[in-house]
């Protein structure tokens, strides 16, 4: 999953186009409930079942995409 794919997921979940690869999920209106949508979208696309902790530690599209890559590699 590319960083741009992850930006797309963030944009869809946060319902805003003002998301870049370095936008912080929680500073962009995200919370734990919206977080489940990101985790579900990643699980459906990549089969990787991240946790909310992963999103807290990697809250940007770039960081989260890297985390997915590190799991699938």
């Amino acid at each position: 999953m590319s960083r741009d794919d992850m930006v797309e997921i963030f944009r869809r979940v946060l319902e805003t186009d003002s998301v870049s690869v370095d936008s912080d999920f929680f500073a962009s209106g995200g919370d734990s409930l919206l977080g489940t949508r990101v985790l579900s979208a990643v699980a459906r696309a990549e089969g990787v079942e991240l946790s909310f902790e992963d999103l807290i530690e990697a809250p940007t599209p770039a960081a989260l995409a890297d985390r997915v890559a590190s799991v699938t590699r």
Partner: protein
């Protein structure tokens, strides 16, 4: 009405070897649970007063809860993930002299000494002498203290008597049709009252309460796997989380595990779109129970089967007049005022707000009945009655909103925002967008030349350090001024419309089922 502790002891006498609690695949029998509860009660001593418990997602919290009750004390759960200042405010407001720590090593707020319970979960198996006779417990004595949001910024402690919890739990055992074969997932946050709907009906039936680490990861696929692996039969979910579960099931190939026979939801309005999706999934064999209640009226007061074998006929469709919150449970008396406000009477009413006689008198009122004065709780919720008798929630009489199922007075967030040295005034609104509430704060800086982006970052950082996550707005917008009403009061909705012209309609305030929360962010 049997006291909760008596009911537990009775179950432990009749089926001592049943598994009471399960965690990480390990089981604790009812006999063992009662031994641990007695040991905890003995450690606390008789009538210990309000006891703060720093909770943990483990059976130790259940032992602490029941141990405090067995000793005749008042249970007061505190989330150790809350900022320290908030933990202190809660312990002070509840009047806790003692603090129990569910997970060894959890730091205790300054000024309190933790009650040490070494080896809480590895006590020797020999019989211990019993706790003070709980059978003699006074139904009016306080059982627990939980908090609701108050505009002053200080949490409002609700005192719930033992008789209220006994009455409510008896109705819930019946509503859930629990049997000793049931396996109830512990999912709700341990720091609000929804978890008591999971814990107490199960443990006074002889059923098993299941803790499972994979259920708390925030990942729905992992939750579904945990439910399947543990053979969970009853799930009690905040409605906002159920919305996300339905979305996931509708968009993926996954299914609700076969073991699940009942899903209980509550905390805010169930969305008709998600309910339609749920009906379209293979869920006909699963009871979907919608519930309503306030912390002040103890757990659940109203319920209705929305779908599944308990729903009133396959023709019942709830989309037309709004999804109902149902009819009162057997222990509940309801009344609807001329303005549509729902009032509740009966044995499940709280005693009031601790040390707040004026606020208590405002919400707990005496009304003359045919057999003398009756005490009622004014819920602040507006309801209507459908032709079939089920109530529908229509909104709030005040500005209260629900954030992830937790009641929030916007005034409380405004108070915290205004405490920031760079903030002049603030207005907070909740807006409802597809199944959820988004909280937006408008702040006016003290200095006209303030750097807006920097101020937003600073305000959010400070809030996260001092208050729980449900009091942190999703969005903070710096504006030059707020809108005021003709009477000079801050006009929250007017401010919202002026500064977010394309804004979605303000939150149709939702009904609540006692606070629940999923996280501390």
């Amino acid at each position: 009405m049997a006291d909760i502790v008596s009911a537990l002891l009775e179950v432990a006498r009749s089926c001592p070897e049943n598994r009471a609690v399960e965690y990480g695949g390990h089981g604790i029998s009812y006999a063992e649970l009662v031994r641990k509860v007695r040991a905890t009660a003995r450690e606390l001593g008789p009538a210990p007063g309000p006891v703060g418990v720093l909770t943990d997602r483990s059976p130790a919290t259940v032992v602490a809860l029941l141990g405090v009750l067995a000793a005749g004390g008042t249970y007061c759960p505190v989330d150790p993930a809350f900022p320290a200042a908030r933990q202190r405010a809660l312990l002070e407001a509840a009047g806790c002299a003692k603090v129990l720590v569910a997970r060894p090593g959890t730091p205790v707020p300054e000024g309190w000494e933790p009650v040490e319970l070494p080896g809480l979960l590895s006590l020797p198996d020999e019989e211990h002498p019993g706790p003070p006779a709980p059978e003699a417990a006074d139904a009016q004595a306080p059982a627990y203290t939980l908090f609701t949001s108050g505009s002053t910024g200080r949490p409002k402690p609700v005192l719930t008597p033992r008789g209220a919890i006994a009455a409510s739990v008896a109705s819930l055992r019946e509503l859930f049709a629990l049997t000793p074969a049931d396996r109830v997932l512990q999912f709700a946050s341990l720091n609000w009252d929804t978890c008591l709907e999971e814990i107490l009906p199960a443990l006074t039936t002889g059923a098993t309460l299941v803790f499972h680490d994979e259920a708390y990861t925030g990942s729905i696929p992992r939750l579904l796997r945990a439910v399947d692996a543990a053979g969970v039969t009853l799930l009690d979910l905040p409605t906002a989380f159920w919305h996300e579960l339905v979305r996931h099931l509708a968009q993926s190939e996954e299914q609700l595990p076969d073991s699940v026979r009942t899903v209980v939801i509550g905390g805010e309005a169930a969305g008709p779109a998600r309910l339609a999706e749920w009906r379209a999934l293979a869920t006909d064999r699963v009871r979907l129970i919608n519930t309503y209640g306030c912390t002040e009226t103890t757990l659940i007061t109203h319920a209705v089967d929305l779908h599944g074998p308990g729903a009133p006929g396959p023709g019942a469709w709830w989309g037309e007049h709004g999804v109902p919150i149902g009819k009162p449970l057997p222990h509940v008396t309801e009344a609807i005022g001329p303005d549509g406000e729902l009032s509740i009477a009966g044995p499940a009413l709280a005693t009031g707000y601790r040390n707040l006689p004026e606020v208590t008198a405002e919400r707990f009122v005496l009304r003359e009945g045919p057999h003398g004065p009756v005490r009622w709780f004014r819920t602040g919720d507006r309801v209507s009655r459908r032709p079939d008798g089920h109530l529908v929630h229509e909104g709030r009489l005040d500005a209260e909103i629900k954030v992830r199922g937790i009641r929030v007075d916007p005034g409380e967030i405004e108070t915290h925002l205004s405490a920031h040295p760079e903030v002049g005034v603030a207005a907070v609104v909740g807006t409802r967008t597809a199944d959820r509430t988004t909280v937006t704060a408008y702040v006016v800086p003290r200095r006209a030349d303030a750097d807006a982006a920097a101020l937003v970052r600073e305000v959010l950082r400070d809030l996260r350090a001092t208050v729980p996550g449900h009091l942190v707005p999703h969005r903070v917008t710096v504006v030059p001024e707020l809108v005021h009403t003709a009477g000079g009061k801050i006009d929250r909705l007017g401010t919202h419309r002026l500064h977010t012209p394309a804004a979605a309609a303000p939150a149709r305030t939702e009904h609540h089922n006692g606070p629940t929360e999923q996280d501390n962010r």
